[in-house]
Amino acid sequence: MRKVFFGVLIVLADLLVVSVPLIAHHGAAALDTGKEITLKGTVTEWIWSNPHCFLKFDAKDDTGTVRNWTVETQNPTTMTLRGWSRTSFKFGDEVTATVEPVKNGGPIGRILHVILPNGQKLIAANATTPGSTPAAPVPAR
């Protein structure tokens, strides 16, 4: 019964994640399309600008090295519609970001969603291709 309960709970939680259509402002040629990685880190900067907003944060990779990630969203007009704002982040916020990284392995990518310090989840986009498999989260430093 307990397994059935948690199974139903997981299904319900998945369905509650609202599917947001990917509005491709620009191409995905640089992205490792379909790949998702989840990073826990500390915000260093949040830039609210056209053509894309940027979130910069420090996060450890698998080797324990801290890298400063730069991940983009869509433009402010689109992000406002999704509940984001120029004050969504501040320096020092501890966040969990799921991103679609670039192919060349740099600490760069496109934000899919971010979990804020208060637990709120901000959704930016869906992965470029369906059926991607999320990787295990990287622990914060």
């Binding site: 620009h26 910069k56 730069t70 983009e72």
Partner: protein, 296 residues
């Protein structure tokens, strides 16, 4: 106990189905600055109001909601996704032009540092590309002489003259009107006529040459020989259909339809966020992400 919790979770889930993410920013009015209403009810026989005669004025948005007019992958009716039905009737010169365009979108997209799209220098998109890129809150005003369209993207506007003046004749390097050769324009020269009380047909010629403007974000070309024909058909009070056909014998072997966009009327007091192209912010983007993502 677990059964009670399960029932509660199902109830919350069912409630959440009626709370789409857009509700977060929908129809609020902070200090009287109205946000767009994305939850408008569909127009039915019960709530349909008659269309005003010869009147397109209003605050319009693609009826499909936010993003419906983005057209990042190419013009609405022919996205550049490689499918056979979306192949365009290029002339040899048109195909050569297309291949010279390094776009960030579409089937032949390149890395950010390799593109040569004038858009990414914040160059004016021109007509008709403003109708093929981020069509969002679109305001139409009119008087007895003209219809004016205000695009949200980059705060651009264009004039469609409805006072009976003649459409200029396209000549090499410009247009001819009244015996005088005039300059090419990013928005061209547009003349409209009401073909019935609810349909405005617009012709535009005299647009910029193909080395200055593209047709869409995937690199499809358009030349200064193009004739753009649009129809704005007011279906009822709240809905309009915006259609467009391109006839450009320099780059396409035949006319083809680019757009058939249903539009929905919004509250005229709706706040229109700026969605601008800033060279300063574009350069920042290139430094922060574009170049690095391209391995530069």
């Amino acid at each position: 106990m677990l059964n009670s919790i399960l029932v509660l979770m199902v109830g919350i889930f069912i409630a959440a189905l009626g709370f789409p993410v857009a509700t977060l920013a929908q129809n609020s009015s902070p200090g009287g600055w109205l946000s767009p209403d994305w939850e408008k009810p569909p127009i039915t026989d019960e709530n349909r109001k008659p269309a005003p005669r010869r009147n397109l004025a209003g605050m319009w948005h693609p009826a499909g909601g936010p993003g419906a007019g983005t057209q990042a992958g190419g013009v609405q009716l022919k996205p550049n996704n490689g499918r056979p039905e979306n192949q365009l009737p290029y002339t040899p010169y048109g195909l050569q032009l297309y291949r010279s365009h390094k776009a960030l979108e579409g089937i032949d997209a390149v890395l950010p540092a390799q593109d040569n799209d004038p858009r990414n220098l914040c160059e004016l998109l021109g007509m008709p590309r403003y109708s093929h890129y981020n069509v969002r809150l679109t305001q139409i005003f009119q008087d007895e002489y003209k219809v004016v369209i205000l695009y949200q993207y980059d705060n651009r506007w264009r004039i469609i003259w409805t006072d009976g003046r003649e459409l200029p004749k396209v000549v090499e390097g410009g247009v001819e009107m009244g015996g005088e050769v005039r300059e090419q324009r990013f928005f061209g020269y547009s003349v409209g006529r009401w073909i019935d009380d609810y349909t405005l047909e617009v012709q535009t010629v005299g647009t910029m040459p193909e080395d200055r403007v593209w047709l869409d974000s995937t690199g499809r070309p358009i030349s200064d020989q193009a004739r753009v024909t649009e129809t704005f058909r007011r279906i009822d009070y709240d809905t309009m259909e915006w259609s467009e056909t391109i006839d450009d014998p320099k780059v396409y072997t035949r006319p083809w339809e680019t757009l058939k966009l249903p539009m929905r009327l919004h509250d005229p007091r709706t706040d229109v966020m700026e969605y601008y192209c800033s060279p300063v912010e574009q350069e920042k983007y290139n430094k922060l992400l574009g170049n690095a993502a391209s391995g530069k």
